[in-house]
Amino acid sequence: MIQPTTAGKVIGLQLPYDMEELARLLVDEAVDKIANKPVKATTLERIRLFTEADDTVRGMPQPLQYGHGLTYVLERIAQPILPYDLLMGRITEEVPDPEGEAYFQELCLRYARKPLPWDKGTQPFWVFDQGHTSFYWRDVVTHGLSGLQARAQRELDRRATEGADGETLDFLTGAVLVYRAVRTYLRRYADAARQAGMPEAAEACANAAERPPQTFREALQMLWAIMLIYCSMLAGNPTLTYGRLDQLLYPLYRKDLEGGRLTREEAGLLILDFYCKNNLIMGRGEHQLSIGDDSISTGWQRNLNFDAPQYLILGGSDEAGNPVSNDLTQLFAEQIHPRFKNPVIVVQYTRGMREQFPAVWRALVRNMRESASLMVYNDADVTAAYIRAGADPEDAVHYEHYGCNWPCLPGMDAGGSNHRFMWEKRILPDESAKLENADFWAPAPGGLVGELMAVIDAVPKGEEPPDIDFFYDRFLARFRDFMCRKYVHALLERKVLYREAPGILQFQDCFCKETIQRAKSFLCGGSKYYTITQSHGGFATLADCFTTLDALLYQEKKLTFDALREAMTHNFQGYPDIHGLCNGVPKLGSDDALSNTHGRRLLTLLTDTVYAIQREYTAQGHPPILVKQCIETDTGHIRLGKALGATPDGRLAGMPLSQNSQPSLGASTAGMTARLRAMAQLPFERILSGAQNLSIQPRIFAGEKGLELLSALTSTYFELGGLQLQISAVDVSELLDAQRNPDNHRDLMVRITGYSAVFVDMIKEAQDDIISREMSAV
């Protein structure tokens, strides 16, 4: 029992620092590591141990390789501790000396994955976790590692008694070994903490290993251990989501406070340490745009976590639809530091949140204003979209997002690119690799906008299309054709996975909702939903093209189709008048009636097409595939744009498309409210994710008045139906100076898409894109 505190001293946490000093030490280390971790730093010990483990498990079935191999590593890996650690769990990173570097390079080649040229690979072939997921954390917190292990053991015993096949028994045996290995890791940390003179930390580790967590601290300790193992030792580019921690941990938090075991301030410090620990494992670089540039890219082989953040979910609703934010929501929000990259906080906005939870909302908006790594999703939109996509309502309400900005039903869905990873790891036979090579469902260059350009190109010279429906009909026919091929590919992929790989085991399988009960990997029948993602990338550019065609050819009759196409063919060079007309048409984001209409129409038609395909194939007796419809490009809008010539909206050849669910750059000229209102009127109750980055000038929203304005602005956007919002508040002058003097701005963070990056670590092309975006700030 922890005794009441004396003023200023952290008695409940038994550390020789006062709270302020402790917080400073934690934050200083985290911020320093984000900005200054050496690019060449790597977890050499982790690589060496996995290589040794590989030698000891050779010839075993994969699940046993996994279980025994992980055990080997977790029984041996170093467990560093610093005096101000509250939670235990660090991994040793170092810059190898020349001899170590040569050893490192040799190991990289040993596990090379040829299809991914930038990733030489440092994991044995029996490890192919690839992250981008969320676990079923509710079970983890409720049962603890010991409970989960017991459950797997019971399932193993039962199936053994019933004479199950060897593959099934191997799967369950491997799972038991995984739980046991994680518990061993915690027990070892308990011993290390005891020896370091940190008995409370030791007790938290020991308890987290032996029983379901009974305190807030034990729960956080357990979660951090699982996350550290997954993100630093197993999954490359993991982006694992923590789930709705303000809900999951609230009963323990309240019990601790009521029992006098913990004060609110002490819980805050634990959260701060939790955040800081997450930042310590980040690698340097910007994974989307610096690939191939060794001077700034750490590569997954050096640091598995790379620059990929974990997500942490706050707010949202319960199964009855009631909003459930609480004091812990606020505490998690209060502990965010604007210089943190990790985790990304995802707030699930519930109707009336600003009025119902004023302190929570205020804390969140304060962080948004400081460009903290935080985004807000509209609970009503995403839940409705999941139900429309085919999720059961009781599952839909538990939706989450993982990096970068992708939706998931935690511990319940699987699919997509997983097949590719297993083939690369040679888990699947070569036959199935043909699926990977099958590009028969590949979209046109430039994605959806490319499909429209193909329609435009196909019109015979001299023929004037009669109306805008001409373009819609042909575009949708092409889109439908593409989606059907994509859907069929997913059906084939699912079939191969279920047939060829049901017995494989990943770490994630131990933390899903039904994998253990089904004794199958989440990828191969162990999860409730099989999913694919369809992202309508470049949506605003596409909508603008339709709007411009309609305005100039049919509404205002200012141009002929041939004249417009001729100008586009020449990239508008020599056609300044036509270019001016195209640019002058109000675009999506200006809240103009015509652009609003086309935005709504287009998104409705795209999503309806997908729903129809789902229905048709399911009616034919195929297993259902849940298509996650998003408007997400990450940084792909640059790549898509490069593949395209000039477009009817006035965009020049090679220029980026619209990013994520945002208007095209410069298209929103009627003010911030006009932009938000225009975007909110889109039928987002069909879309599961899509970042809306709102760049603001910090001085506009300064002070208490500014905070209230931002609070009103953002909450109104969600009340109107807006899907997602993340705020970027950076002075352009600071960005420009950072380009000239990078060393003076090592800690300057910018928002990308569901994650943040150190600005000076990005390549110049990406920096310029960010500067263009910020120059349009209100």
Partner: protein, 298 residues
């Protein structure tokens, strides 16, 4: 019912409380040297030209049915011939040519203002009518304010107070807040800086104070006009004398409107004038506070 509207600015946050939409009217009866909307001063729309946008295509000249535009390396405008038909603006593919205002129907203005009502409601904002001098378009203004009030939208009028009091009396029932400019206390200084005297303005300030209607007084702090302790003290004493109880906002000179002068082919009268420093602004605010006025730096 129509009026010449220069601009309808959504997400306006400096013209009254909360998030607002500001409707800028054409026409003003003062000519302040520092005016950042000089294109709104003439009673009728004027031709604006942004040479950095011009493609040199001459479409504006060719489109003019009245022969009011001639090409002399750039379009040259004859205001006396121009019928304000807007052909040049419609013809320009680069948005280089425009008229400073458009005749807008009342319904269209109301429709635009209405769109952001959810943002007003959430922020305590509303609609502000500014200009130019909106009071010069009284019937339209009164009807617009009435329509906004009927929709539950907070209304504000930004005025230089240089209008007969009877006109203000008419719109007071449909106006929630007046933003009243107060530029100088000395008659000669005022006349020199704005082209008009300030007797009526001073009188109206007293009437505003007397009638108890919510008013915020806005003082643009301009070097060479009122940015000195003596003038500010005199202004503060006047406000104290009339028992003004509202907020007094001190607004530092800025040059954001300079490009508009260029677009009109005019020289910006205050080019190069250094705005008051932060320390000076604080001194002026303190003078106001010393007279028990609720002064803030805006």
């Amino acid at each position: 019912m129509e009026a010449h509207i220069n601009n309808i600015q959504r997400f306006s946050i400096h013209d009254g409380p909360g998030i607002r939409t500001t409707v800028f009217f054409q026409g003003c009866n003062l000519q302040c040297q520092w005016c950042h909307n000089p294109d709104t001063i003439p009673a009728a729309p004027v031709f604006r030209f942004q040479d950095h946008r011009c493609l040199g295509c001459g479409a504006c000249v060719h489109s003019c049915p009245a022969g009011a535009l001639q090409w002399k390396e750039r379009p040259f405008w004859r205001g006396d011939l121009c019928t304000r038909c807007g052909s040049c603006q419609a013809a320009c593919p680069a948005e280089a040519c425009s008229l400073s205002s458009t005749a807008m129907a009342l319904d269209a203005v109301v429709e635009t203002v209405r769109r952001d009502k959810p943002f007003y409601d959430a922020s305590g904002g509303g609609m502000t009518c500014s200009g130019g001098e909106p009071m010069l378009t009284l019937d339209f203004l009164y009807t617009l304010l009435s329509r906004a009030k009927a929709l539950g939208i907070h209304t504000a009028v930004d005025t230089a107070a240089n209008i007969p009091w009877e006109h203000y009396a008419r719109i007071i029932p449909v106006t929630d807040l007046f933003l009243v400019d107060y530029k100088a206390e000395g008659e000669a200084v005022h006349r020199s800086a704005t082209g008009g005297g300030n007797r009526r303005i001073r009188d109206n300030l007293r009437r505003f104070a007397d009638c108890g209607v919510p008013v915020t007084i806005r003082i643009p702090v301009i070097p060479g006009v009122n940015a000195n302790g003596t003038e500010i003290t005199t202004m503060a004493e006047h406000l104290w004398d009339i028992r003004f109880a509202g907020t007094v906002e001190l607004l530092k000179l800025h040059h954001w409107g300079e490009a508009k002068y260029k677009a009109l082919g005019r020289t910006y009268p205050l080019a190069g004038v250094e705005p008051p420093g932060d320390g000076e602004m604080e001194q002026f605010r303190d003078i106001m506070l010393g007279r028990h006025l609720n002064a803030v730096i805006g």
